[in-house]
Symmetry: C2
Subunit: 399 residues, 2 copies
């Protein structure tokens, strides 16, 4: 008799987005004439950079000609041209990563979810509250115990390092989804020290690093040198270059990173991940890898930074609005998210914003208990919609 | 302390391809002037069909324009246009599948590997011997017990249904990699009956279905109607349309398929897989999905069938050679693989073929104990190389 992985029965229903969808449909069915501004899901709206499109079209042509056709990639880890481009990108902000430490993936979500495969069920996973739901869900699916680090208004939504529990795997995300909070070097250093002391591994989600413009803030956990002993970094071109529908990311595992068996023997994490990927993954399309490579050329960086600049101007329009209203928020600087205090239960505010002002956002409660009373809006919309939404928000929240 | 998933320590080193690579290098280092014909790895050599290239280039252009840009796909299960195209393709050989039962993936390897995630460790996985190594490796990584069904010369390399053990998950592959054997409807029906009787789930790998030209042979397990109660089918465009480096496949889970918890309560497999994919996967690039859609248009089918015809002519040249030599083999008809009896240990024959005739194949022993004494060659090479290789094989094996 085929048996279900019972860990799946411990998952909460994904109420958040189902519930959001249901409430939107409920409203639009009754109000078909109202135009809704969507600032809920963290999806981008601006097109791919011209250099990326050109590189991919060239690669399509190569695939149509026998002499330049590409079949299986030898390693499935990503073509060297792209791994070198990623290494060069890191070099640009002062971090040295070897191309052999980089695994090209179809996105940060896949790798954040799959990385738990190589860790025993007998690990305690620490996740901040609030957090991106994938860390919790994939840990639960793999039978791990999940504990939470509170991130609250008092700490500026930086998660608090536990003093009396030892986590084995620690998920951190900066710039944070959903709170927009960004770690300082000093804050990360403390987590790195905690991880090294406990022989824990930090899974560092840097999917929003490209939004950091303040040069004093770290864009990678590997800006902290000792992090090579305790961290895996997962990043993506989804937000950096609008690849949400183009699918390309990368995971960095330092060669010296180790984990342990029950007898305390150590094993190389990079080698075990390579074995996992070798058996369960066959790489990213050649065409997409050529597009990703183009992102890291000087022209590609220029073009994608213009788009990031566009979103960050949206973020500025949004933070100016909340500043003017005197409402507390995090994010909006070095982050495409604005996370603000809505002074009522998040779902109640959701309904109010939808029905009174036809704006969809994401209730903070959907990211964990500490998110209740808070609300997330994204800067990924168009300029027109952002301006119009802020006009409506002002009407709603002006005292 | 972060702990390794100890199941990984039970994996065998992937000797097969490492060892092949090592022996080739050893030979070419000493004989740099010899030109080697590679018939080892099952990778294709012919370019993508023109309609596929055009569809992808058009999609690249769409991604560069705001009005037609595509971000996240709502479901991550694949665009409806592609799921409908796959359903239409199945219709073409008489099988009805709903688009809602289809999950678009980045390839059969990922899904074959990841599908074990949703099954409890307490399942016995049955794998034929010989078999594609991913079934065994991914089952072991997930802590499952693996048992084997012998497939030998005596049965024409059809795996023998166990009479005294109950498997919970059964991996079947037809046309088979590596043996080229193809199930008849009667053979599959027996496995389906066995699976239904034992409430087991069959994972049916149909990656090579497009090579079946004999209309009496089933191209899908769902040609057997009752299979909807017990089977998942995994397929791919890798061999159908030369997508080994373009990455697109699909998995079919009938709505009525169920599995069970420890108390015998039933759960819907499709829903649980959707939950897994929802948390750990974000879909296939829009550009690639448009390319895949083009495969299933009348012009796409015509163009890709021409390429399959080219490979099958290679297969014919190969089977003619082995017929002429009076050497026993399976495959070569309705399959791109020729699996022949080499009358000595597989690795010994590997060395002989490499050093005396500069041809690389795959030793059958690498696929399981029943593979020893057998050898796999692929029809995916160019015509010139195939003809030349067969000339050399004749020289080597003529009595």
């Amino acid at each position: 008799m085929s048996k279900i992985n019972q860990n799946f029965l411990n998952l909460k229903e994904n109420y958040l987005f189902i519930e959001i969808g249901k409430r939107i449909r409920g409203y639009t069915d009754k109000n078909p004439d109202k135009s809704i501004i969507r600032m809920g899901i963290g999806d981008v709206t601006q097109p791919l950079a011209p250099v990326v499109v050109e590189a991919m079209k060239k690669a399509c042509d190569e695939m149509g000609v026998k002499e330049t056709f590409k079949g299986y990639e030898d390693s499935g880890r990503g073509y060297l041209f792209l791994r070198e481009a990623v290494a060069g990108y890191y070099k640009g902000f002062g971090v040295t990563i070897e191309p052999d430490e980089i695994f090209i993936s179809d996105g940060a979500k896949s790798d954040s979810g799959n990385i738990t495969d190589i860790f025993s069920e007998n690990n305690i996973a620490l996740v901040s509250d609030p957090a991106y739901p994938v860390y919790v869900d994939s840990s639960i699916m793999n039978g791990k115990n999940v504990i939470y680090a509170d991130a609250t208004e008092r700490t500026g939504f930086a998660p608090i390092i536990p003093t009396n529990t030892k986590a084995d795997i620690i998920y951190l995300c900066s710039p944070n989804n959903p709170t927009g909070a960004v770690f300082t070097k000093e804050q990360i250093q403390k987590w790195v020290d905690y991880a090294i002391f406990n022989k824990a591994v930090i899974i560092y989600d840097a999917a929003y690093e490209a939004f950091i413009s303040d040069e004093s803030l770290p864009r990678s956990i590997f800006c902290i040198e000792s992090a090579r002993k305790c961290a895996i970094e997962i990043a993506s071109l989804s937000k950096t270059a609008g690849f949400t529908g183009t699918r390309c990311g990368y995971t960095i595992i330092p060669k010296e990173l180790e984990f342990y068996d029950e007898n305390g023997n150590s094993y190389n994490v990079l080698k075990i991940w390579a074995r996992r990927q070798g058996s369960k993954f066959n790489g990213v399309p050649y065409i997409i890898q050529r597009g990703a490579e183009a992102v890291f050329t000087p022209e590609g960086l220029k073009q994608t930074r213009e788009t990031i600049g566009y979103y960050m101007q949206n973020a500025e329009i949004m933070s100016d609005t909340f500043d003017e209203l005197g409402i507390k928020y995090t994010g909006g600087k070095n982050s495409p998210y604005i996370w603000f205090k809505c002074n009522m239960p998040s779902w109640e505010f959701f309904d109010k914003l939808l029905t009174e002002k036809q704006i969809v956002g994401t209730p903070g409660a959907g990211f964990g208990k500490n998110g209740d009373g808070w609300f997330r809006l994204t800067a990924f919309g168009t300029r027109e919609n952002t301006i119009e939404a802020m006009r409506r928000v002002k009407e709603l929240l002006k005292k």
